[in-house]
């Protein structure tokens, strides 16, 4: 699975990026400021981590042909990259004084880059965007009250269960809350001579942070309050305790039973009855075990305790603050996040279209996990919120692992994590 550079590297690069932005700003005196350039011809540079593979590249090329027809004289040079190396591409381009005009990036990336002055204010209002997107979906693109990014597609983490396994145990409906989930999972777990044959619930196939966060939100906790970390609150500790109980107290799943990026998730293999997983699991199942879909054996359920919660990631379109063609770049941002491109981009990656109008599309309706996510976007939460989030998030996994392995209590792990986050925030981006 994807490997991310160390936080030190990222931090160093971001630091250099910030310095470069400052120097670029100084040396760019006399250049066209965003908003000053008029229409007409322009050559735009677009950096994208989505529209991957040959089919994605072809799709984007054909969509951009449509864009060019509507915007004669505007050409778009596309730079395809992957999420794992997006930060390096962005930073080197900014440091080199050649920022891309339009950049696609993930949820949680907007505050750091907006804070550094890399991104342009798109001049849109929340009310205006709310006509096109679910209000929850808009939030990751907003920083300091300004809209810096518009959503293209979303990806979510949710509860997923095997109907057939639950039915065999006489269980007719998925768990209504996390307490019930734990009890149900205990019942569904099978061990033979101590060896785990089937986990009642699998919480290890997904990225650990992305599993913990929806559980934490469901317990009523939040990441930040007024820019300060609050993920060591009592509710957050209860959330991590719930995960620790799954592994250490109830032995519902063994640490090492599976891992993120495994060839197949235990749920697909019948080695888990439920899981906290990515909506893209639908695609994995359709390729690896299509009979499960044909026989309607898989469905999603909401992680719920104090409140229902869905983890929401995604890809957003942003515009550089340094672009020489702000009008055309803004049009490209609107085009990429618009009603034509968003559904197609989402379908190509097996994700969720950001636009409301795609909710009834055949793709969404036929993909039960995507349609479940679309139906529950009102309960979606996004990570991030502070400019140093990209550094802070790297600290989550070791802290969570410490708790799951019994090296620290949930309270100790989260307190330590919060103190580290405070230090990172104090040092600044």
């Amino acid at each position: 699975m994807r490997s991310y550079p160390s936080s030190l590297s990222r931090r160093s690069l971001l630091g250099l990026g910030a310095a470069a932005v400052a120097s670029t700003a100084l040396t760019a005196c006399g250049g066209a400021a965003p908003g000053e350039s008029g229409g007409g011809s322009a050559s735009l540079r677009l950096l994208t981590p989505i529209f991957d593979r040959a089919d994605g590249q072809e799709l984007l090329a054909s969509l951009l042909e449509d864009f060019k027809k509507d915007n004669p004289g505007v050409s778009v040079q596309v730079d395809h990259t992957e999420y794992g190396k997006l930060n390096e591409k962005l930073t080197t381009s900014i440091v080199g004084g050649q920022p891309y005009d339009v950049m696609l990036m993930g949820v949680g990336w907007v505050p750091p880059f907006a804070e550094k002055g890399v991104l342009a204010d798109l001049g849109a209002t929340e009310a205006e965007l709310a006509r096109m997107y679910n209000p929850r979906v808009i939030q990751p693109g907003i920083y300091d009250g300004k809209v810096y990014a518009r959503p293209i597609l979303l990806d979510t983490r949710m509860g997923i269960y095997r109907k057939d396994i639950l039915a065999e145990a006489g269980i007719e409906a998925p768990p209504q809350d996390l307490t019930e989930l734990r009890e149900m999972a205990k019942e569904l777990t099978i061990r033979r001579n101590g060896e785990l044959i089937r986990a009642g619930v699998d919480i290890l196939s997904n990225d650990l942070r992305q599993t913990y966060l929806p559980v934490m939100w469901a317990h009523g906790a939040d990441l930040f309050d007024g820019g300060n970390p609050v993920f060591d609150s009592d509710e957050a500790v209860d959330a991590l305790q719930w995960m620790v109980d799954i592994i250490r107290t109830d032995k519902i799943e063994d640490y090492g039973f599976t891992q993120q990026g495994a060839v197949a998730a235990p749920l697909v293999q019948g080695r888990a009855a439920m899981m906290v997983g990515h909506n893209d699991m639908w695609r994995q199942i359709s390729e690896s075990a299509p009979e499960l879909i044909a026989e309607d054996k898989v469905a999603g359920f909401m992680l719920n305790q104090q409140r229902p919660a869905l983890f929401q990631g995604g890809t957003l379109a942003t515009m550089s603050a340094e672009t020489s063609h702000p009008e055309q770049a803004k049009k490209l941002v609107e085009f990429l996040s618009g009603e034509k491109v968003s559904p197609l981009a989402a379908e190509q990656r097996g994700n969720i279209p950001a636009v409301l109008s795609a909710a009834d599309s055949p793709y969404v309706q036929n993909n039960k996990l995507v349609s479940f996510a679309v139906d529950n976007l009102d309960h979606a939460f996004s990570e991030g919120g502070v400019p140093t989030w990209l550094e802070i998030r790297e600290e989550f996994k070791p802290a969570l692992e410490n708790a799951l392995l019994g090296d620290a209590t949930p309270a100790e792990a989260l307190n330590g994590l919060a103190r580290k986050a405070e230090t990172i925030i104090a040092e600044g981006p």
Binding site: M1, R2, P5, S9, S12, L13, L16, R45, L47, D52, R53, A54, Q57, Q77, V78, D79, H80, T81, E82, Y83, G84, K85, E88, K89, T91, T92, V95, G96, G97, Q98, D155, G261, V263, A264, P266, V268, Q269, G270, R271, H278, D280, R283, Q284, E287, S288, A289, P290, R349, G350, N351
Partner: protein, 308 residues
């Protein structure tokens, strides 16, 4: 003691060790071969598993416990993997860059290594220390400065004489090849080899009136073939596997390399395992072929330079 007994005793003394040594040697050899076979198998197994995985279908990959051999040998994975991205272009680009790096590195590093080993000049040790020191700089920390240098090359990519106004070597073959054209490790390796050659050879050539370049090219370098093979193979391998720099410096798909192509099988949300293994199998072939041709010299190269 009779002569017969003496003879017998002599025979015993003579045959006993003769019988024991082959047996001990046989046991030692058997043990050694067992260990070597086990280690070899451990080395080969990941490659075998990669090839087997590349021939499995998705349901086969997902089955638990995993099947040792594919239930259906899905050779289509290879053709489908090649359709995932323009691998023909990526493969050609990687070959060009790898051969370019190898050729430049062999010429430049051997001359530098020769100078550091055989040509006395003031500050030679300091220069060698600086070369060694550059080996200790992590790649990540060099990326941004290297990017800035590539962008600021004068008279290229629309740049003026101050290196401004254009994009320099970004998105160009220059940017892909020149920054990796000389490695400090290759200089170090060549130096060690040239140091090991007898001074008499050099002196004889000098007495015969041969110039310094002639001594380097016609007398000394033909004697360091293991170094040439070692540096050539290592440079090719490193260049072939390079991912980050080609990704960062290029935006044009036509300039992308095989490793960037392989990354298309690995996305944040899912991996296309069968295609990834098929693509990796294909990408491994040039390295395996190259090693087969150069392995004799390659092993000598490491043994003689004292590197393990």
């Amino acid at each position: 003691m009779s002569a017969e007994k003496l003879l017998q005793g002599d025979t015993d003394r003579g045959t006993r060790p003769a019988n024991r040594i082959p047996l001990a040697r046989l046991l030692r050899r058997t043990a050694l071969h067992l260990v070597l076979a086990t280690v070899s198998l451990a080395m080969v197994l990941p490659f075998l598993w990669m090839i087997i995985t590349s021939l499995k279908t998705d349901p086969d990959l997902a089955s638990y416990p995993p099947n040792l051999l594919p239930q259906v040998w899905d050779w289509d994975n290879y053709s489908e993997a090649l359709e995932y991205a323009p691998f023909g272009t990526y493969f050609k680009n990687s070959l060009l860059i790898s051969f370019g790096h190898t050729a430049f590195n062999l010429v430049l590093a051997s001359t530098a290594g020769y100078a550091l080993a055989r040509v006395p000049f003031r500050g030679r040790t300091l220069v060698f220390m600086v070369v060694l020191a550059t080996m200790m700089i992590p790649t990540y920390t060099k990326i941004v400065p290297q990017y800035l240098i590539a962008k600021g090359i004068p008279f290229f990519g629309g740049n003026d004489y101050l290196g401004q106004g254009g994009h320099g070597w970004l998105d160009s073959w220059w940017g892909l090849i020149v920054p990796g054209a000389l490695t400090p490790f290759a200089i170090f390796l060549f130096r060690q080899f040239y140091l090991s050659l007898p001074r008499e050879l050099e002196e004889a050539a000098r007495i015969d009136g041969m110039g310094e370049f002639g001594i380097y090219a016609r007398v000394m370098t033909p004697l360091v073939k293991p170094a040439i093979a070692t540096v050539g193979l290592l440079t090719f391998e490193s260049s072939w596997n390079n991912f980050l720099w080609p990704l960062i410096i290029t935006s044009d798909t036509n300039l992308r390399v095989i490793q960037v192509g392989l990354s298309t099988f690995q996305q944040a949300d899912q991996n296309a395992w069968a295609y990834l293994m098929a693509g990796t199998t294909l990408a491994t072939i040039p390295m395996v072929v190259l090693f087969l041709f150069t392995q004799r010299y390659f092993v000598q190269g490491f043994a003689r330079s004292g590197i393990k």
